[in-house]
């Protein structure tokens, strides 16, 4: 406030000489001062004179200056974290100038799809994604912006939604962290990978949570497969039971995106899934979601289990789960691109894998992923997916997925269990990842000096 003003004054005075040396006009110096003050005013809303209202407040970033960096860096509208109470930044402002993804961090906002441009913040601490990040995520097909919305929102609900399953809650937290990481990852991924990355972390955890998968979903959307993911996520989140819960979440997410065409068929699950799907759809993936929506839980289980998933359940969920499964393993993130395919193919792939008798989720998971990928390719109806991987697999998957759609929920549960086991394997990876994003994505940063 006053201190800032006085510092600005001092600095301007100090540089005035320097400016003079350069032979610059006083006007330039004045411009600098005004620009500077405007930015400060807008970003911190400190009282200040000289606020000329510089064109549209780009700074709208309310968030601590750190956000700016984040936004800029993330470029992907996926701005994450800060759920903690970030102030809403007029995402529009920020996004426009920076990343294009406005950061809107509604503090404590429960998912309402904020579609405002995308800033999905994930609060690291258990909040999972309170922030409605409307945009973010998913780049998936490059729609990243679009995905952001849905994807982001999904996050919120995930963390927040009362995950029906107790396990989920625990997992959710884990996921939340992972989700965040995922979310964070999503962001970067958005640019790079379409979605899967984020989702995966969540998904993995979610699986445990089952329902909480919803968060995972969100991440997925980022994946080109988004659609699939969305479905999966929705499915996961919604868990059929939760669906209502998630559905709302998803819905929120989805609303921004529904254009994707994956119209969340299921009100509950679908909504969420649809949202996700939409997000994913962006990638161009077909809304396989509808299938997924049915049983978010199941799908998740399917995905998780990979092997354990029954064909039936797998099929249903595969679509969604596939996305998730892929996501779950930390590896998923790597294969974001693949995730898209996975979504479609995963499910199918899973089925097939199961058919082969690979049930051990852990062992299979890594394998399945590979296999799934291949399978997904075929399965993924979405054109985009195919592009990603071989189409051959897709074909196979399609047939498989179709049949499976009837997956049973019971199987899912089993799968989940398996997944849980697997998590420990991945948890180690997550931990390290969490630190990094947390460290740098923090909204609040204090800079100071110490004396030894």
């Amino acid at each position: 406030p006053k201190l800032y003003k006085s510092i600005i004054e001092d600095v301007i005075e100090g540089v005035r000489d320097i400016f003079a040396e350069e032979g610059l006009e006083e006007q330039v110096l004045k411009d600098l001062k005004q620009l500077w003050e405007t930015k400060v005013m807008q970003s911190k809303a400190t009282e200040g004179f000289f606020r000329h209202g510089h064109q549209s407040p780009q700074f709208t970033l309310q968030l601590p200056h750190n956000f700016h960096h984040i936004l800029q860096n993330s470029t992907a509208s996926v701005v994450i974290p800060a759920g903690r109470g970030f102030q809403h930044l007029t995402a529009a402002d920020l996004g426009a100038s920076r990343v294009g993804a406005t950061l809107t961090f509604p503090s404590g906002i429960s998912y309402p799809i904020h579609v405002p441009a995308g800033v999905t913040l994930q609060t690291a601490s258990g909040h999972l994604y309170k922030v409605n990040v409307p945009v973010m995520v998913t780049q998936a097909s490059g729609n990243a912006s679009i995905l952001h919305h849905p994807a982001q929102q999904i996050f919120h609900p995930l963390g927040q939604p009362s995950v029906p399953q107790a396990s989920i809650a625990s997992v959710a937290q884990v996921n939340a962290s992972s989700a965040q990481a995922a979310a964070d990852t999503l962001q970067p991924q958005e640019t790079a990978v379409q979605q899967t990355t984020v989702f995966q972390p969540n998904v993995v955890e979610k699986n445990h949570l089952e329902e909480s998968a919803s968060t995972s979903f969100i991440q997925q959307p980022s994946v080109s497969q988004q659609q699939l993911v969305a479905n999966a996520v929705l499915n996961q989140c919604a868990d059929s039971n939760e669906i209502s819960q998630h559905g709302s979440l998803r819905m929120a997410v989805f609303t921004p995106e529904p254009s994707k065409g994956s119209s969340p068929t299921d009100p509950v699950a679908n909504n969420s899934s649809s949202v996700l799907l939409d997000v994913e759809q962006q990638g161009g993936i077909e809304p396989q979601e509808s299938v997924q929506q049915q049983v978010p839980d199941d799908i998740i289980d399917l995905i998780i289990v990979d092997d354990s998933l029954d064909d039936d359940t797998v099929l249903k969920y595969q679509n969604s789960i596939a996305a998730f499964k892929k996501m779950e393993p930390t590896e998923q993130m790597e294969s974001n691109l693949r995730s898209e395919k996975y979504i479609c193919s995963d499910i199918e792939g899973i089925i097939q894998l199961d058919g082969t008798g690979d049930i051990s989720p852990r062992e299979e998971m890594p394998r399945t992923k590979d296999m799934e990928e291949n399978e997904f390719i075929g399965i993924i109806e979405s054109e985009d997916l195919k592009v990603l991987e071989d189409e051959e697999d897709a074909e196979e998957c399609d047939s498989v997925s179709n049949t499976e759609s009837s997956s049973t929920s019971g199987d899912n549960e089993e799968l989940q269990i398996d997944v849980v086991e697997e998590d420990p394997l991945n948890s180690g990876d997550d931990v390290s990842e969490q630190d990094i994003p947390d460290l740098f994505d923090t909204d609040n940063v204090i800079v100071c000096q110490y004396d030894k």
């Binding site: 201190l3 800032y4 006085s6 510092i7 600005i8 001092d10 600095v11 100090g14 540089v15 320097i18 400016f19 350069e22 610059l24 330039v28 411009d31 600098l32 620009l35 500077w36 405007t38 930015k39 400060v40 970003s43 911190k44 700074f59 601590p64 200056h65 750190n66 700016h68 960096h69 974290p81 759920g83 903690r84 109470g85 609060t123 690291a124 601490s125 909040h127 630190d435 947390d438 460290l439 740098f440 923090t442 909204d443 609040n444 940063v445 204090i446 800079v447 100071c448 000096q449 110490y450 004396d451 030894k452």
Partner: protein, 109 residues
């Protein structure tokens, strides 16, 4: 010379952005902008040292700690910042602390 620690602050960032804008519009040269930033470093360092006297207490849970290149980086969770006048609670805060004595490794030069 002075620590460039404060460039990544609201004040510092807005200054850098403004300078960038001026550079974009060809009103100043990058070299000049750099000079301005150096000047800013000095000004902010001395201002904080001389003008600020507030005292704030904070308490939270330490999530991570790091000490590298004479720079401490902490990440705290659920922190409560208490000042006489107000109380602020945040879920996560990152604290970056540089050595006050000799500015250890100065990237600038």
């Amino acid at each position: 010379m002075a620590s460039q620690l404060y460039r990544n602050t609201t004040l510092g960032n807005s200054l850098q952005e403004s300078l960038d804008e001026l550079i974009q519009s060809q009103q100043i040269t990058p070299q000049l902008a750099l000079q301005v930033l150096l000047q800013f470093d000095k000004a902010i360092n001395s201002a904080l040292a001389q003008r600020v006297r507030n005292r704030v207490n904070f308490r939270g849970s330490l999530n991570t700690y790091r000490f590298c290149d004479n720079v401490w980086t902490f990440v705290l969770n659920d922190v409560e910042f208490r000042e006489v006048t107000e109380l602020v609670k945040v879920d996560k805060v990152k604290i970056v602390a540089c050595d006050g004595k000799n500015t250890g490794s100065n990237t600038a030069e």
